[in-house]
């Protein structure tokens, strides 16, 4: 009796019930003809689209294209944002100069710049990477700035007493104490960059997951569209998990 109770409790707390219910509803709804399966194909059809895209290597191609853009854009942007935040922290005059411009840019949705980016850079890799840079920059920059500003002045004083110079204080006091904020910023930035990338690929690209969806739309393949959506969602979650693991490891730089 006790055992049965525990099992029930486990099932309820496992978080599996809701997804399973949705999947079942989806499956039986499609099989029973509750809706037009062209508008919402059955889960099996979506799964088949996934297998076939995987089988002919198309999915891997698009995945590779998207992920390498993320790697480049996110990498450049993170480096830029963290460096700039530290410069602004160390030299208030720099922040005084660029603060206003950054505040202006912060309120411009990166998507709104796509027409100009395409005009200037064509539809090659650069506009997409620049878009990712724009989308990632602010969460990383602002969180890093926040971490730097919140560094305990008392700890900095301790470092001064012990003869730490400006750079050593940055490296051994400010960086470690801002690290949690920096990591939060990077994690947010990664999420932003993923979303903006797919959007950019929907507008102008010849490869990538966004493009795959757009292409499928033109061929009226709603199963492939749905498959693309799932891949994007799952991959985004995986990237986030990967990031949590990386940020634990980042503790060693303290």
């Amino acid at each position: 009796m006790e055992k049965a109770k525990k099992t029930v409790l486990k099932v309820f707390s496992s978080g599996l019930i809701f997804p399973a219910a949705v999947l079942l509803l989806w499956h039986y709804g499609a099989a029973g003809g509750l809706w037009n399966t062209f508008l919402l194909p059955s889960p099996e059809t979506v799964w088949k689209a996934f297998c076939s895209a995987l089988g002919n290597g198309e999915l891997q191609l698009h995945l590779y294209a998207s992920l390498s853009r993320i790697a480049a854009g996110f990498g450049i942007s993170a480096l830029l944002a963290v460096t700039l935040a530290f410069l602004c922290g160390a030299f208030p005059s720099i922040y005084a100069q660029i603060g206003g411009t950054l505040e202006f840019l912060r309120h411009v949705p990166p998507m709104a710049t796509i027409p100009m980016l395409i005009l200037w850079f064509g539809i090659g890799e650069s506009p997409k990477i620049i878009l990712i840079i724009l989308a990632t920059f602010f969460p990383v920059f602002l969180n890093t700035m926040h971490g730097i500003k919140n560094c305990d002045a008392g700890l900095l004083e301790v470092a001064s007493v012990f003869g730490y110079n400006r750079w050593e204080k940055c490296r051994h006091v400010i960086l470690p104490s801002a690290l949690p904020s920096i990591m939060t910023g990077l994690q947010l930035g990664l999420g932003y960059s993923w979303r903006s990338l797919v959007a950019a690929e929907l507008v102008a690209a010849s490869s990538g997951l966004g493009y795959m969806i757009l292409d499928a739309e033109q061929l009226s393949r709603s199963d492939v569209v749905l498959m693309g959506i799932f891949v994007i969602g799952v991959l985004g979650a995986l990237l986030d998990m990967l990031f949590v693991i990386i940020s634990r490891a980042a503790g060693i730089i303290r």
């Binding site: 008392g154 007493v161 050593e168 051994h172 470690p176």
Partner: protein, 248 residues
């Protein structure tokens, strides 16, 4: 006259919100080698300012400080180790690493690790090498902070109400510990406290600050431990309280 540490006509003026406040007024003081100088005074009497000037965290508005005859300046500070009231340990470093923190990485030697372990022993924390600051009690954190100040082997240890945040029993135990370390280390200790009993129990000399000036100086030449029941002790407490202006 000594030629160890001398402060001559030190004034410190802070200006905040358009008003200027003299935290120290024309203070002259000689610090002797190997003494335990206890500094008492009301809150706002300039005790912290005095320590901050000694630690070169603050430049005096007027006056000069000399160490063994040489003028001290920001580029040539007094070799001192400071212990703040709140231990100010780096929360991301272990107890041992916090002691090592006393040396910027460029100054760290191969022997430092062992020396830091020994220092943890000195301050009574052997076995706590890997404890993180959040796992340490207030008294233990202050011991780490003291070890961090001592390991650089400075000529003078500056303590700004180091026991102020501790409960009564921990405080009593830490007073004994500090005296043990003082007797072992043979350095000058300058300790700020607002507890007159503590000052007289610990100091070899007690000075009273009031409104940035020295109000009284008392040499305390009994040996440790000092029993409270000693009538001389009670007399000294009254003297100090009078100098502070305890208005009774």
């Amino acid at each position: 006259m000594t030629d160890f540490i001398s402060l001559r006509n030190i004034s410190k003026c802070y200006s905040a919100a358009g008003r200027s406040v003299f935290a120290l007024k024309d203070l002259s003081l000689d610090i002797r080698e190997n003494e335990f100088l206890a500094v008492v005074g009301r809150s706002g009497s300039g005790k912290t300012t005095l320590l901050r000037i000694l630690a070169s965290l603050e430049e005096p508005t007027a006056g000069e400080m000399r160490f063994r005859g040489k003028l001290c300046s920001p580029g040539n500070p007094l070799p001192s180790g400071m212990v703040f009231q709140d231990a100010r340990l780096m929360p991301w470093l272990s107890a041992l690493e916090n002691i090592i923190f006393a040396f910027p990485p460029r100054e760290r030697t191969a022997e430092l690790h062992e020396a830091a372990k020994k220092m943890l022993e000195t301050v009574g924390l052997s076995g706590c090498e890997r404890s993180m600051p959040r796992e340490l009690s207030g008294g233990m954190a202050q011991r780490v902070a003291l070890g961090r100040a001592l390991i650089k082997n400075p000529s003078v240890i500056l303590l700004d109400e180091p026991l102020g945040a501790l409960d009564y029993f921990t405080r009593r135990a830490m007073q004994r510990e500090l005296i043990r370390i003082y007797l072992q280390e043979k350095k000058s200790f300058i300790m700020v406290t607002h507890d007159v009993g503590e000052a007289l129990r610990m100091g070899t000399r007690v000075i009273v600050l009031g409104e940035g000036q020295m109000r009284k100086e008392i040499n305390v030449d009994f040996s440790y431990p000092r029993p409270r029941s000693d009538p001389r002790f009670q007399r000294l407490i009254d003297e100090v309280l009078d100098a502070i202006g305890d208005g009774e």
